[in-house]
Symmetry: C2
DNA sequence: TATTGTTATACTCTATAACTATA
DNA sequence: TATAGTTATAGAGTATAACAATA
């Protein structure tokens, strides 16, 4: 097991990353804050799903998810379909308008990162992304990472981020 | 410059890290939330300083810092000394009680990380910590890093926080 | 007039608990 | 009775703007 100092240093950096997240959040359009944006992102990556699944993927309480979903639904970015198999459930589906917003979010996020991280090599970016994914994974709280896990309901989920419109950027 | 997809993947992981931060925040004592805890941490690492310096190091608006400082001062963890050189300024100093709280915070944080990241090697931890520090650094918003308790993995760059005249934390 | 810090206000995010409607 | 989802409420975090005291 690693030294205490090593863990402390990591904890500090995790805390400090909050400033980066705030900086990214500032680039978002006023109509789509980070919370709702995360909902759009997860639907784009994993395809249609129910509320509880979104909650699980974002590691949020369902009450929180419900609010974010209400936001994106009101803007017409997501439609709430009834589930033929379970009357209590709502199936969420991204609309074309939702994909448009997502494309916009992706653009600003990529711009921000490309501008600030111009000095990074592909390998460095991949290493950081991979280690962060593992960190989230080991914490058991972050399920929105690559791999699969979003399927189960036969719907589309073209998953993989196409060059065009890709998932959402930041959040809180 | 890296591909769009690479930046998107990183943006997603930064977002997902929010769940880890929430998990860590949940381990904090009710009397010391994350915001105030960050104030204690920065004072412990960099020594006595004024409000504006804390704001800069944490990349927070001074109004936010003021609230966090008021919290820790009320608990007797920090004292606000007058600055002989500038009557407007307040010099913040960690009290022995503040150091005690800090030790407690460190313990729970290390426990949480050590438990979840038991499978990580020292090298992996250092790599992640170093890349996160660089990320914050390149964003120009995170100044609370560099040189720490004994072992900087890799060489932290410039160490500018001490001299502290970095750009404004937030846009004004 | 400019700067340091405080306070008031507002908004986002999150969680707990109470509630509904199905199952 | 249990589960899916909604809503009400509360607390933490942050930012903007107005303000006080000092430079």
């Amino acid at each position: 097991m690693a030294t205490q100092g090593r863990y402390m240093a990591l904890a500090r950096q995790i805390t400090a990353l909050g400033a980066v997240k705030r900086a990214l959040a500032r680039t978002l359009p006023a109509t789509c804050p980070a919370g709702p944006a995360a909902v759009l992102s997860v639907l784009n990556r994993h395809g249609d799903m129910r509320m509880s699944k979104v909650s699980e993927l974002l590691a949020l309480d369902m009450s929180v998810t419900s609010r974010h979903v209400a936001h994106v639904a009101q803007h017409g970015w997501v439609e709430r379909l009834s589930d033929p198999a379970d009357g209590r459930s709502r199936i969420l589906r991204l609309t074309p308008a939702g994909r448009d917003v997502l494309a916009e979010l992706a653009d600003v996020a990529v711009d921000a990162l490309a501008h600030r991280l111009a000095g990074w090599s592909d390998t460095e970016l991949d290493t950081l992304t991979g280690l962060l994914a593992r960190l989230c994974d080991d914490f058991g709280d972050c399920r929105d990472r690559h791999q699969d896990l979003g399927h189960g309901s036969g719907t589309d989920h073209g998953d993989r981020a196409q060059a065009g419109h890709t998932p959402a950027p930041s959040r809180t």
